[in-house]
Every structure is written in structure tokens, then in C-alpha cells.
Amino acid sequence: MDDYIKGAAAQLIERGRVLTAKIPRDLPRDYDTLAQTSRQKINAQLGHLKELSESPLFSHSSYRAERLRLFKRIVAEMDILETVAIAALDRAKVDDHRLNALLERIALEIRFPLVTPVVTTLSQQYFHIHPDLNLMCVPLTEGQFLLHLPDLYHELAHPLLVEQNDPVIEPFQEQFLNALRYVLDYLGEEQAKEDRRRGPLQPRFLLRAWEKAWVKYWMTEFFCDLFATYTLGPAFAWSHLHLVAKRGANPFDVPLTNLSSHPADDARMRAMLRALDIAGFSAESSQILQRWQSFLAHSGAKSEPEYHRCYPESIIHGLAERAQEGLRATQVRIATRETKDPVHTLLNDAWKTFWKDPGSYVAWEKKAVATLFDSTKGNPS
């Protein structure tokens, strides 16, 4: 294995050098942070590889396990850098540049407290973000349409939950933890009830699985949804309906066997609607609820008792309240009925126009998108 790691490390070092050479030198300034992060991360991994090959410590049998784990992590990092970061830089084109300018405008409007992520249109899996690279990935043509763009706001929230040692965003993180403890306390009480009943093992197993899902995934998703709802307003909840109607599975899904990475779509919608009520958009919240119930009726989906146990109203409301409290203590701009920021207004108007006359929406959207990107050309980003 010693020889293997030495040889493989040497090859990876060369691969890292080739990757660095692939970073384009003629991109707009929007990409500087990603280019710099990529360089630094590649260099860090090359340093680790040299240490693995050359340090006498690692030739000792006591450290074989650590060395192999370190080697695997370096390989994984190099893979992510190659397939995500360098690919985004290498293939950046006009569509990406336009979305970068748009995201910069959104960040300014909502007073986003961190460095604005770079956007790439290389996503093969809907919208997502790599907080580590500060890189947001969106589908290829998404910048030519408006109804899913509210998801940009959801993605912007992820880095806020990862950043460390920043007092400006700590109130939001504190409320995230507060909400997580609130849910874990609830699940602990439910677990205690089951223990007292001494009934079958399955409910206890379910509660344990839900606990893991809340900790690993669900709370993050809820908080990002709530960030998006509070900063954008009704358009985000509409876009959730749009996504679920087009691509969703059972909106009342509760994991019974495998760990589910996403909370139930209906629970997410309930949290968004509660947030809209809190933020003063009760009329819009009612309209969205009506459409959502119509969708649920069409889908034929029915909620089971487990669903209500997993996502009780008190928990959903508690999350919406805590997220708002956390955001209010940051400098982030929360949308109100008086908010007139241009991108905020356009994304909300898009949904109003869609429902007013769905048949003529496409023509309106084409013009609106052209106007939007014409206006972002002059953006100083």
C-alpha cells in the first residue's frame, strides 16, 4: 500500500497542476472569489499529498488508517474541485454572467450579509449550492424564466448556516439551534410516551429515524425555506407549489424505513404560509392555501396520523417564529407589503400575472425577462 499511495499521490499532484492551469484568466470579476477559492483549495490538497508521500510518520504502521482516510479525503476534494468548481469556471458563459449580475442585485436588495455566491448554469439537479465553494448551481435555462427564480433566495440561506464566527449572522444560527432543540424536546417527549406504553417497537424506531432526519437535513431545509419566504414574500411559496406540482412525490411523505433528506412538501408549505401570516401577507397566504388545497385534492394524496405526529402544527409554527426572530436580529431585509425593490417586485408580480391570465403569461414573461437582464447590465458587480 505504501508504494500505491506514493504513486497515486504523485499522479494527483500532477492532476492538481493541470486543474489550476484550466482556470480561465479572462472571466468577469464576479468569478474572482471562485477562482481564488479553487486555487487555494487545490494548493492545500497538493500540500497534504506531499506530506502523505514524504513524511516519515506515515511510513509507520501505527498511522496507516489515518493515512488512508486522509488520502481518500484528498481524492474526494480534488474530485469536487474538478467536477464542480473548475468545471463552472471553465464553462462560464453569457447565461452565467447574467445570473451572477441578478444574484448580486438580489443580495443588495435583501442586504445579504456574506459574499454573494457565484452562479453557474451547470446544474443537473435543480437549484443547489456548495457553501464550501460559495457556488450556486442552477439548471441551464432557468435564467430565461421567472417562476422558479425564488429558489435563489432559498439557496442564499445555506451559507448563513455554515459560516462561523460572524456575530452579524449568529442570531439566525442561534434560532436554528433553538428550533432544533425545540423539535428534539418534542420527539423526546413522544419517545418517553412510547416507553411508558411499552407497546410495539416500530413507533420508537420511527421517532428515532425522524430525530436523525431533523438533525441532519430537515431543519436546514425549513430554515432556508423560511429565509426565502421572509426575504421574498409570497413568490417563494408559489414557487414551492409550482415545484411540487411539477416534480413532487407524496406531499405528506413520512419516512417509515429509509432516512428522507427532505421534509414533507405539505409541512414545508405550512411553514411558509405561517411565515407569510407573520410577515403581514395573510391575504396572499389564504390564496396560496386555497391553490395548495386544490392541488392536494387533485393529487389524491392523504395524510396519515404519522404525518401529523412528525410535523405537528405547534412545531411548524414554532419554526416560523424562531426563524423570523433570528432574521430580525440580523441586518437582512425582511419583505413587507411596502417593499418595492425591483427584483422582489418583479418575482412577485410574475406570480400575480400568472394567476391573472395563465394563457398569456409566457408572452409577458419573455418581455419581463428581457427587461430584467437589460437592467442588470449596468449593475456595478
Binding site: L57, H128, C137, Q164, Q173, F176, K212, K216
Partner: protein
């Protein structure tokens, strides 16, 4: 958000924990580490959690909650490991527990990456 994206944030967190744990383990096994080492202090802090007087540390809190819910380690056990890392005498049984945790975190990291690539 896609499965991929949701995992990338958690992935980075788990990877950083695994990295830190291995670095501290190497120092402990090589007897080149002291309780004042920055990384050892950082790891001890993760195991001990944030004192109520300190600013919120999401990473430390998440580490605690993650290990408790995912690995069935209770708060007392976490605290014991944290206290041991702050002492000059880290016994073999603590190193063994750290090694087991390092392996678990590595498996978690690799599994998560496989899912991000659509192999999970």
C-alpha cells in the same frame, strides 16, 4: 433544493470534523501533542459544547447533536472525551474511542459523497 445540494453543506461539516479528529489522533499517537495545541483545543471544544456564556457556535452544537442522535453517544460520554483532551494524560481507551469515531465519521463522509454523486 436537490439531494446533492442539501448534502454538500452537511458533507463539508462532516469532512471537517473527520479531518480534525484524524489530525489530533496522529498527534496523540505520536506523543507530539499537548492540551494547548490549537487543534486539540478545538476538538475538545466540539466534544464539550459551548458554555452558555460564550457566543453561539453552530458547528460545536451540531457536532454534539449529530453524535448523540446518529451515534448513540450520550452527553456524559462526549464530555468525558472532551475533558480527556484537555488533560495531559490521554489514556489508551480514549484514543481507541477517538479511532472508532474517526472511522465512523469517515464512513459517513464517504457515504454522503456517494449519494451526492448519485451512487447512494
Amino acid at each position: 433544493m436537490s439531494y446533492n445540494g442539501l448534502h454538500s453543506g452537511l458533507y463539508a461539516r462532516i469532512r471537517d470534523y473527520a479531518e480534525l479528529l484524524d489530525e489530533v489522533l496522529i498527534g496523540l499517537k505520536a506523543h507530539t501533542s499537548s492540551p494547548n495545541d490549537e487543534k486539540r483545543q478545538k476538538l475538545a471544544h466540539l466534544f464539550l459544547g459551548t458554555p452558555s456564556s460564550a457566543p453561539s457556535n453552530l458547528s460545536a452544537q451540531f457536532f454534539q447533536i449529530f453524535l448523540q442522535s446518529e451515534q448513540d453517544i450520550d452527553a456524559n460520554q462526549l464530555s468525558e472525551i472532551g475533558q480527556a483532551l484537555r488533560s495531559t494524560d490521554v489514556r489508551a481507551n480514549v484514543i481507541e474511542r477517538l479511532e472508532a469515531l474517526a472511522l465512523t465519521l469517515e464512513n459517513e463522509r464517504a457515504g454522503m459523497l456517494a449519494k451526492m454523486r448519485g451512487h447512494g
